[in-house]
Homo-oligomer: 301 residues x 2
Amino acid sequence: MAHFACIELGGTKINLAAGSGPDDMSAVVRLPTLDPASTLAAMVEQLRHLAGEGGFDAIGVASFGPIALTPGTSAYGHFRQTPKPGWSGADLLGPIRDAFPQTPIALDTDVNGAALGEARWGGAVGLDSFAYVTVGTGIGVGLVCNGRPVHGLLHPEAGHIRVRRQPDDSYAGHCPFHGDCLEGLACGPAIQARTGKAGETLAADDPVWSLTGRYLAELFHSLILIASPQRILVGGGIGLNPAVLTAARDAAHSGLGGYIEALEDRSTFDEFIQPAHLGDRAGVMGALALAQGASHEHRAP
Amino acid sequence: MAHFACIELGGTKINLAAGSGPDDMSAVVRLPTLDPASTLAAMVEQLRHLAGEGGFDAIGVASFGPIALTPGTSAYGHFRQTPKPGWSGADLLGPIRDAFPQTPIALDTDVNGAALGEARWGGAVGLDSFAYVTVGTGIGVGLVCNGRPVHGLLHPEAGHIRVRRQPDDSYAGHCPFHGDCLEGLACGPAIQARTGKAGETLAADDPVWSLTGRYLAELFHSLILIASPQRILVGGGIGLNPAVLTAARDAAHSGLGGYIEALEDRSTFDEFIQPAHLGDRAGVMGALALAQGASHEHRAP
């Protein structure tokens, strides 16, 4: 039976697991994401435990970004400029490769990984073009086109698109790069800054949820018209808030103005934008999908 | 020697040509785009002339959209809802198939076709992720991801993204579906409506060029962050206007705020967004690339 390592590297914690498939996985080991050196050392130590004597058939890494994804370049597996202190330029893959030099390793963003997981076991089975959107502390978008995750120059960073400001919204936005890009206006810290409260403590009908949903609709509109996905899956604590999702669907459907015939029917549209299926497991399942892919490519080059 | 038919179907005219490759093509035959029945009948008649006795090895069709691109569906090759009178639902491929029942036919949008032509013979050779943007009477975007044009639910219709309004711009926009989407604010008819003059008669430093460029920058920003292209090629009479392109690059570079490290250097960025190479030939060359692809798939299924 194959034995895969699954690494989900998030901005605040790492989830590690190992197993042969979604129904045969170890318990998830959680580590805090601190500075790169100590974090990656702790991660490798845990991986050695999970590997056991037989090692891994492949390792899948689903990581926060931005991170260089073009194999064969010197930057491959290194973080790019990130507001996360200490992590700009850090080498994520090096320590894993050093510890498991013979093992195929596949790397992608956490959100591209989650999208692959949804394609294998979740809400995008059978689709070859779709988007996975998560809205929480930040806004991340995984995108699959023509059956493969989109990389290109870097990888999608669609949380940072510029959006049309809602009337009467004077909040300056909190993105350190763009101020009032989508992420700057519509994720967890923006909700906290607008209301002075953590999202969990707000009433279900607080107007900030609807405002956030209307901003999220701008992303849906642009995704539909640029990438033409067959489905948009939404995850994350804020993305799954019913008031956010309802407002986002309302505004996106109305904003399209009937232009995309296949999405004109409202119930079809509400199916088109649906909650992601894998929930909390999306990251680890994404890493598993990456590992399985790496193992497959390794065996059949 | 292979003999390919190339059909570029535009909103106002059809370009037809035949030959074995880019350096061996017939003169281009031009027909006006009138109602579907008479237009397609005239097109088929010209194709029969171009076919000669030997027929075609394959036919490539690069058409205005929206048009259904999923082979095997009943809508395949039919136009979707379009503001062009009489063309909503019209069957483009049927008459071609009836006339050449044994010949492989490949269909894509004019802009996806142009992108493929640029990949084969123009400004995107060697790239597997890039965008082709044309700005003229309308705004069209062809997108290649993972080496193939993007289709998905429909195909990119990125001229219709919602953009942030420029301060002090009160023009309502002219898009019949969205009013002030990008196309509604920044293409030929918008320039005419704002200035009361045709673009060709305006001074090179008319402020409308810079305004148009700043709107176009919103598209570049969203393309970069959603589709992560390795290059953006720009065509069309308005897109190639130097004042438009300069303003668009300025605003897009500044709007990214240094977030995409690989595009931070300004001269790299100006190379990243560059004029398309094939110019007026983009449509026919796109159709040729489609025909060659269809012929190849037909021989090696």
